[in-house]
Symmetry: C2
Subunit: 317 residues, 2 copies
């Protein structure tokens, strides 16, 4: 696991000079959760006793943004806030206009649509900001904001695992069904093998999930952080439905390839996008897993096609 100082070292721009004051500011900043306004960071620094000029803090914040250590966010208050990116994936915000608190979430589905729009408009998107303004639960019911904070990283890992587990489950169902209806003995063996792999991996993922919950039992109760519809009615579920309406061996392989490819792409693309974190690792590992399955299926498909060709040419002779 990457530590905070490694994270900073990695991003320290070349040609820059080390400075105790800047290091101190960065360190204090990284200790914070949530979204700090520049002024609030000034107060924090002052409270920790160092007499550091306001200008230096502004300059350091800009330095961190350039280095990719911090992100500048605008909640429409007329001033900027900053959040660090160390173990903190990019995300969107729900902003309560009553208590001014902000809640984070992420939606692959929305990100995918945003990408589609940008592409349709030939727009080279670099960053997208989505903010939902309104009133949070606490403020709606008049209750005091007794916020239970769980670090975004843990929530991200939790949801990454949930999605991976759901995908494995539906993959397992898919391969089980595919094995049942495949006529060719060799094909059946491949699907069985894949079903077993899914089952085994499912067990591993579930163990990891239990581990995560053991570390922080409150985690289960927190609202969804990562929204992804594919998890519920995803690729494999659609694939299973396709199989249900009758399919031959070749089709089953093609459907499997489509599913694994989609799944691989999702986990890879999303995993790549994140800062170093447990959630990122889960996604990338899972992407690799799916990639292997994909390769296996493609090899198998090629083999099937070869055998068919051979049969045809034998008949012709």
């Amino acid at each position: 696991m990457q530590s905070a100082s490694e994270f900073i070292e990695q991003r320290r721009p070349a040609g820059g000079r080390r400075s105790g004051k800047r290091d101190f500011i960065v360190q204090v900043f990284l200790r914070q959760e949530g979204h700090l306004a520049a002024d609030e960071l000034v107060d924090l620094i002052r409270a920790e006793d160092a007499r550091i000029s306001r200008a230096t803090i502004y300059r350091t914040l800009q330095w961190m943004v350039d280095a990719g250590i911090a992100r500048k966010v605008d909640f429409g208050e007329g001033r900027y806030r900053f959040e660090h990116s160390y173990r903190h994936p990019r995300h969107f915000h729900l902003i309560c206009k009553t208590c001014n608190q902000s809640y984070e979430f992420l939606s692959f589905d929305i990100e995918a649509l945003v990408e589609e729009v940008a592409e349709a408009r030939n727009f080279a998107a670099r960053q997208s900001v989505l903010q939902i303004y309104g009133t949070c639960v606490n403020c709606q019911s008049g209750r005091k904001a007794e916020r239970v904070t769980a670090p975004t990283e843990a929530l991200f890992a939790r949801d990454a695992l949930r999605i991976a587990i759901a995908t494995e489950r539906s993959g397992l169902e898919f391969y089980t069904r595919a094995a049942a209806l495949t006529g060719d003995a060799r094909g059946r063996r491949v699907f069985r093998k894949l079903a077993n792999e899914e089952k085994e991996h499912l067990g591993k993922l579930e163990a990891r999930y239990r581990e995560l919950l053991a570390e922080d039992p409150t985690l289960e109760a927190h609202p969804t952080f990562l929204f992804f519809k594919g998890a519920a009615h995803g690729l494999f579920a659609a694939g299973t439905a396709e199989l249900r309406q009758g399919a031959d061996d070749e089709q089953a392989l093609l459907v499997g390839i489509k599913c694994e490819r989609g799944s691989h792409q999702f986990f890879k693309r999303y995993g790549d996008r994140f800062e170093e974190s447990e959630g990122k690792r889960i996604f990338l590992e899972f992407a690799d897993e799916e990639r292997e399955h994909l390769d296996l299926l493609i090899r198998e498909y090629r083999n099937l096609v070869e055998r068919q060709k051979a049969r045809v040419s034998r008949k012709r002779r």
Copy 2:
């Protein structure tokens, strides 16, 4: 069609007094396209010769926002911009960081996902802001920004018509197919009737579309403003697929009801959300149309069930 002054009159807050200066500012503001910073409006006013204080312009902008005549938007420039809402639906923005131009778009799909997220989090959403930052086509190719501006209202109407037409087309296909496979004579008549209505209405919509293009022939070439996937692989298309896998009369009615209900809801909900405009009208008219079909199908379904019940009890006797 509602005029600009009617639009303002409607929203003038009670207890407020009339003032020539404010009226003048509002009038100049409504004449503009795009997103004005307060300062730019000051310049415009000065250019049109009135000597009006900067403070008055700020106050009038705030007044317009409160009245719902203007919307305050934040492009992360450190200052606010304003856009008027007269014949200008709510929308999202693509913002080019190179030329600082902004492009508008709307996506029902994204809005629906945003609503889902807010609901899942028990968050009472009042407004959502989506901004995609990056580089626009012109700036990518180094070309000068020779922006062809079409008023958003016209683009909105164009896309509303395109979506309505696509929906009609797939509705027509659905009812034609349903009529073909319905055994019951009465049911067949209903589906034929609906198919005819769709065909007729389709003709009307297409005529309206041609009319719109005649007014501004460049309109066709502009990029999509309103993104809605339902248009392409929408409800009726799914319904038609459902029918294809064999269905009886009752099922056909139920599928039809599901499709019309979804369609009605989409057009109604979206239409309601907009400021007075051609696009709004198209949506609401279409919603009514779908509502009528829905009612007809429901009546027909009830009738079918009644007849089935009667048959069963006759047999029992």
